[in-house]
Subunit: 520 residues, 2 copies
């Protein structure tokens, strides 16, 4: 195990042998952030379990998101839904997923391998083929005489593969259904029920947090492209005449954000424009203040989780990447060692989904306002949880400051463990006082661990390695004077505080109400 | 809509027309606790969405559970896992679910209806057939000449129907997999990974909260028997030589619990025995202090959520209801208007699951202690979330105290909305001050709603109807003296407090740190 093995490789040795992605992935596996699901039976590609530390990070991320994007939102208010992951055939036929939620595939006629046709062409020829039909892709494969990259066998024509996972519900053959490919469809279908039961007036949002499923043809890159994943989505419903007025936009209007515009992309530029939310709005680069509001809030949110401002931006999606009904899509992309990856999709979905469900279901989902039937417009931010966790791991990973071990500089609110309690040595009464201190912190609702194995230095290293912001050491001064030593992960400085004040001080440090330096 | 419609039926009229279950179900539907999933397309039987209030209750329930059974548990500690819902064929073949997770069914040969054979026999003949083979059930059907209850058609032989929902993962036919029927299997498969990555010593627990799926043949009774549901499970891993020593049992040993013993059930008795946890242990009615610990904690937990002590008990499951390897199963059963329903299953699973997975996977899941290979024993409490929500709804429902409307007496911590803020009349400056008060409470993390529509009495009624514990009224004294009136849902008494103290007072009331009466 890392942190204590005698044969452990030095940070420098690891760096020379493994990519950053592999180093983080190995650490995440050994320290309990993520495991392959059902690993003892070989598992399923693209399906993972979050271990104890990963699960805590996920809970912390969800709680931070729920507070910032749901609970504390006053105007418009946001309601939360907890809908089913199994949806009937009719719903996904109507939403268009049955016909259009597909990827193009080719099979090798010799070794039978199945591949994404677009990835094969992009990897082999460097061509950009987003939005092309299967026929166009087949033509490119034939014209360039592409073969199977594994066995050089001939390739089939390109066909389309639906990414939804089907289930049959009920006895005797059963009713055809699917695992939802996004949480959004529950929200659209329940829109009228939520509006009526909550007596909600436009604008208002409906949020949902939960699992979605995509039968990826080739899952890859750890938590980046997986088959079972967690989404946090909001559909914001807006009176079409009021799309230009967001009642709380003023609160974020001066927030600086970075956008890679369509013009820039056409020119092949990589460095995004930086302006305030209201400037992007004035220049018509953003379609409405609802979109601008979310881009600004996301910029604030991800910085607070440890992803540096200059390491992410919003990319205005090109027309061929965007559904026909879209009024503008902006993906939040994070720069990683494995390339730029999307972790939030922001879509101005207009009234397409509600109108479409009205037509297909024959049910009236409009709202009567002053005698007029209104179909609201929708702006949707859609957040991926597992991808964000990987981004946080990579951007908080530190290995350059000469401590001799790697560490995670997690902001305290996302850190899976907030404090490590340790007796200076494993002797009474130190261990007894240390364990009682640990108990007190835990009973007060702090996520803490206790460690009395190995030298203090080893234990600091083990704590740093999983990003514990504070270590609390019980020593002989504790016995004499009832004081404890708090060590700060980032500065490695230490300070002595009264044991009776410990709970309050730790809470303040973790909430950011005081800086560690002020305690010195 | 309820709470304001002129044509609304009186409480007395509703009572004479509808069962309690139907009255609560109708209310839950109209006020946003639960909706049929994909209702606009006809939905799928046994699959529901939790609306805004149901979702909040679920979040509150999960948070209360996580604090009480996971985060604040010191010794043994409990780690949390967040595993996948899709598991490969091999895992569920090994666990026994593929062969044994079945229900007996019969089909009508005339109308093709599919039924649970055991339910048909129990309903028609009043016979108890738990644990019987398909052949035995077929014989009973033939001997008693049972026919289809719908069309009187002849019935098929009894066959077995597997309750797991299958999925095919990946392209080209795909890998056979299933939606997990319980969260427990992820935990057993990851046991060694968690133990190693957390350097955990026995005893320790692994908890998991998440969706599970059962393809019920006939879903029924709203949230009681559904196909997609949420579980909160803990597997507590114990050194086999230490099963008699729970390090924290002393904390709950004097807690009174109610158990319907096997002896009582054989005698046909319905009223459970009441003793303390340690007395049940001494009399060998409970197999070990780990089981006793959970039964005591569950007794405390469900009372704190509003289910009265005398309305639930633990039933020692009879041998024919229990797997062969079990060291004793105790179901927490709640008395409801629709009968006694299980909401927690407590199982002493011995070392069956780990031993079995070791054998089937060929992987070593034992722990080395002092040179010896130890396979831990397991005690498992398994909680159903949606069922518990229905139990809380029913046991908190009030319609007898002459207010003229029904209400929910939710304990504040489970109540979906903690306070309702209302201006006395819809006039400035009252509405402005009221909205700002609402905003302040929300920004402080309180779940509150704002309502300025209709008379104050109507608004109190609407708040009571969804169990909001406190109403905060802004009146002309607020303008003059900056005071607000707090109305207590349960007593309907009112008191005036300073507006500046409101946040603190509400937090104290909701946490139970002060009683409303002390404010009078």
């Amino acid at each position: 195990m890392s942190g204590e093995s005698k044969s452990k490789k030095s940070v420098a040795e690891q760096r020379s042998e493994k990519s950053l992605f592999d180093r983080i992935w190995t650490l995440a596996y050994h320290r309990g952030f993520v495991f392959p699901s059902a690993e003892i039976y070989g598992g399923i590609a693209g399906i993972y379990d979050l271990g104890p530390l990963g699960a805590k990070m996920k809970n912390n991320l969800i709680q931070a998101w729920r507070e910032f994007f749901v609970l504390k939102e006053v105007n418009p208010p946001v309601y939360e839904l907890d809908g089913s992951t199994i949806l009937p055939y009719e719903a996904l036929k109507a939403s268009g997923h049955l016909d259009s939620f597909t990827d193009p595939t080719v099979n090798c006629l010799k070794c039978k391998k199945v591949m994404r046709a677009d990835h094969l062409i992009e990897d082999s020829l460097g061509l950009y083929v987003e939005g092309m039909t299967p026929e166009q892709l087949t033509r490119i494969i034939r014209e360039n005489r592409l073969v199977c990259p594994e066995c050089k066998g001939d390739l089939s024509d390109v066909s389309v593969f639906n990414l939804m996972l089907g289930v049959k519900v009920g006895p005797a053959g059963g009713q055809t259904a699917f695992l939802r490919p996004e949480t959004a469809q529950d929200i659209f279908m329940d829109f009228k029920r939520v509006q009526q039961s909550m007596r909600a007036k436009l604008p208002f949002g409906i949020a949902q947090i939960g699992k979605s499923y995509r039968n990826e043809i080739s899952p890859r890159q750890g938590l980046i492209r997986i088959r079972e994943f967690t989404q946090m989505e909001i559909e914001m419903f807006i009176h079409p005449k009021e799309i230009g007025n967001h009642p709380s936009f003023y609160m974020v209007k001066d927030t600086k954000i970075r956008i890679l515009t369509r013009e820039q992309q056409k020119r092949g530029e990589k460095e995004p424009l930086e302006m305030t939310a209201s400037e992007f709005l004035e220049r018509n680069i953003l379609p409405n203040p609802y979109m601008a509001y979310y881009l600004a809030k996301e910029t604030i949110f991800y910085q607070s989780l440890g992803i540096p401002y200059e390491k992410f931006h919003f990319r205005h999606m090109m027309p061929e990447e965007t559904p026909f009904y879209s009024g503008g899509n902006f993906d939040l992309e994070v720069e990683l060692s494995i390339g730029r990856k999307e972790i939030v999709g922001n879509a101005y979905r207009t009234n397409y989904d509600l109108s479409n469900h009205m037509k297909k279901s024959g049910k009236d989902l409009s709202i009567s306002i002053d005698g007029e039937k209104i179909i609201p417009e929708v702006v949707e931010p859609s957040f991926g949880v597992e991808r964000a966790i990987y981004c946080i791991l990579e951007h908080c990973f530190r290995e350059d400051d000469g401590r001799g071990w790697t560490w995670f500089q997690f902001p305290p609110k996302i850190a899976p463990v907030k404090a490590l309690v340790l007796p200076l040595v494993r002797k009474e009464p130190l261990t007894d006082i240390a364990f009682k201190t640990y108990e007190t912190l835990k009973k007060n609702g702090l996520e803490v661990e206790y460690d009395d194995r190995g030298s203090v230095g080893k234990r600091y290293a083990r704590g740093d390695e999983i990003g514990i912001p504070y270590c609390v050491t019980i020593d002989y001064d504790t016995v004499k004077a009832n004081t404890v030593t708090i060590r700060d992960r980032d500065s490695r400085k230490q300070t002595v505080v009264k044991r009776d004040d410990l709970v309050e001080i730790l809470f303040k440090l973790i909430c950011g109400n005081i800086e560690f330096n002020t305690l010195l």
